[in-house]
């Protein structure tokens, strides 16, 4: 049996990789839209409260679960959860921590490949001389894989394969030799690009470069508090949902990264630092760029219409490339590269994290070497991602996002919190959180983790039930049904692999805890 001997090269590398795991495209495209739709400036209050009551506790839980499991040589959630209790069914709950990553990576790598393609098109000047409708339609053309925008046949597929190959190669280089190096380069560049674009966005002047409003008009609209909205449960649910998805909790990636820590290493300060870095990117950078530029050119009503038509993704890919062209050829090129570059770094630091739990599982349980496990992951994601590419317009992409990128996260986070706080127990749990801590963790978190966080998660889960029912009962294309069945097959297949690994452990006399 191959023993995993991976470790992090440096603490800064670990924190940047963890922050990179959390920072994704949603920080720039989802957060501002959620804020606008839920009370503007007053959204930040429930948002930060949910960060303290649900986000940070979940970070503490997942970091400490990972480091605990790592002591026993586990680097994926099925056997990390198994190590925490004698009730053997928990390893099947841990299946979510592998399944979610495989399924999300399958569509996320396609999304990531769009950013690569748009960097290419920004450099080659594809969007120059296009009007707004043409830039918007370009996105439709690009995702229609039978049409080429560059003359390269199946262009979207080529960029997708390139993106997958980059991810797989970096994963095959390991934690310190691959993921950590990318995080150390990608995160500072992401923040630098974000700061440059944010300054440009908020300093837009009405009457210059075709803008009809100052950039601060967007900030004004986004941050003017609607105090009444604070009392609406739906706003709190939206804030909890945003915190949940932005931190990449409930996926199994944090546990996997933390499992490579030494048992005496700090987790409290590391979790705080990575979590707040994500908040900086989301609130300060994400809150400044998209809305300020769009309101600067289209006004508040125009921006709201665009958001209602195509959401944050539409603003990012259909609108901004057109608006950058108003700044002249040089700034248009630089802005396009900075914008899609920061989205690419946000994407790749997350997709790399998604590869590690499956790789860790194959290495721990079936003795696969790192390179083999990395290419195995790449191949699996390639096959699983095919429906999202070829049936994109029929809704397969959105289907993956809903079941794997939304529902699975909530279910897994709810169960892992119950396991940690109520079955593993808060005495042992608190000892894990505070062991080796470089900061004093306030005792109030003990109460929050035991009572408040599970209740909040339960509220998010119950709040999502009507949506789940609607999804199940709606009429959909056969391609979407196929995507659903494929996801179900992946979950069942992963559970079977976990069972085989469990029997293998029994046969070899290896323990799980």
């Amino acid at each position: 049996m191959t023993k995993t001997t991976e470790s992090w090269g440096s603490r800064v590398g670990l924190v940047l990789a963890m922050a990179g795991n959390a920072v994704g495209l949603g920080n720039f495209l989802r957060f501002p839209v959620q804020a606008i739709q839920n009370g503007g400036g007053s959204f930040i209050i429930p948002y930060l409260v949910c960060f303290l009551l649900m986000g940070l506790p979940l970070l503490f839980i997942e970091w400490s679960m990972g480091r605990f499991g790592g002591k026993f040589g586990h680097h994926s959630t099925p056997f990390i959860l198994d190590a925490m209790t004698k009730q053997r069914f928990w390893k099947y709950i841990g299946v979510f921590g592998i399944f979610t990553n495989l399924a999300v990576a399958a569509y996320y790598c396609y999304l990531e490949s769009w950013t690569l393609a748009y960097i290419w098109h920004s450099i080659t000047g594809t969007f120059a001389n296009m009007d707004q409708t043409q830039v918007s339609d370009f996105f439709n053309t690009y995702t229609d894989i039978t049409v080429s925008t560059t003359g390269i046949p199946y262009e979207a597929v080529i960029f997708w394969l390139l993106c997958l190959a980059i991810n797989t190669y970096i994963l095959s280089r390991g934690l310190s030799g691959g993921i950590e190096k990318v995080a150390k380069i990608g995160m500072p560049l992401l923040i630098l690009f974000g700061i440059i674009l944010a300054i440009r966005a908020v300093t837009l002047k009405a009457g210059h470069d075709g803008a009809i409003n100052d950039g601060t008009a967007g900030l004004n609209y986004l941050w003017t508090p609607d105090i009444k909205s604070i009392w609406k449960p739906s706003v709190w649910l939206a804030a909890a949902g945003q915190i949940f998805f932005t931190l990449s909790v409930g996926m199994g990636t944090i546990q996997c990264y933390a499992s490579y820590l030494n048992s005496k290493d700090d987790i409290a300060l590391n979790a705080m630092s990575a979590g707040w870095m994500n908040e900086f990117v989301e609130v300060v950078l994400g809150g400044s760029i998209v809305i300020s530029i769009t309101v600067g050119y289209f006004g508040v009503d125009g921006m709201v219409n665009l958001v209602n038509q195509a959401g944050g993704l539409g603003l990012g890919f259909r609108t901004l490339p057109y608006l950058f062209q108003q700044w002249g050829p040089v700034l248009a090129l630089l802005s396009g590269v900075f914008w899609f570059g920061l989205l690419f770094f946000a994407g790749i630091t997350s997709s790399l994290a998604m590869g590690t739990p499956f790789m860790g599982f194959l290495q721990d349980e079936f003795g696969w070497k790192r390179q083999r496990a990395a290419w195995g992951f790449g191949l699996f994601v390639l096959i699983l991602g095919l429906p999202t590419v070829f049936f994109f317009k029929q809704g397969a992409f959105d289907e993956y996002d809903y079941w794997a990128g939304t529902v699975s996260l909530v279910i897994f986070a709810l169960f892992e919190t119950i396991l940690f706080a109520w079955i593993f127990g808060m005495d042992k749990g608190w000892a894990e959180i505070t062991r080796g801590a470089d900061i004093k963790v306030p005792n109030i978190f003990r109460f929050i983790i035991k009572f408040v966080t599970p209740l909040l998660l339960l509220a998010v889960f119950i709040g999502s039930l009507p949506g789940i029912w609607d999804k199940i009962t709606e009429d959909v294309h056969w391609q979407v049904q196929f995507a659903r069945l494929l996801l179900l097959a992946v979950w069942i297949g992963t559970a079977v692999l976990v069972y085989i690994a469990y029997r293998k452990r029994q046969k070899e006399g290896r323990f799980t805890s």
Binding site: G41, I44, L48, T216, L219, N220, S263, K264, V283, V284
Partner: protein, 50 residues
């Protein structure tokens, strides 16, 4: 910008930036603890299938 939006921006951006910088600087300045690699190797015991 109106006053209430300006206050929200300053408070939100200011507090999030200060806290982020504070924790990241603390990470950079905290010396690494000597690890105990023996912790990674659990004691041998037979598998408990209960």
């Amino acid at each position: 910008m109106n006053t209430s939006a300006l206050i929200m921006v300053i408070l939100a951006y200011g507090s999030v930036t200060v806290i982020t910088v504070y924790f990241f600087v603390k990470v950079l300045n905290t010396p690494h603890k000597a690890g105990d690699e023996d912790d990674k190797i659990p004691p041998v015991k037979s598998y408990d299938a209960t």
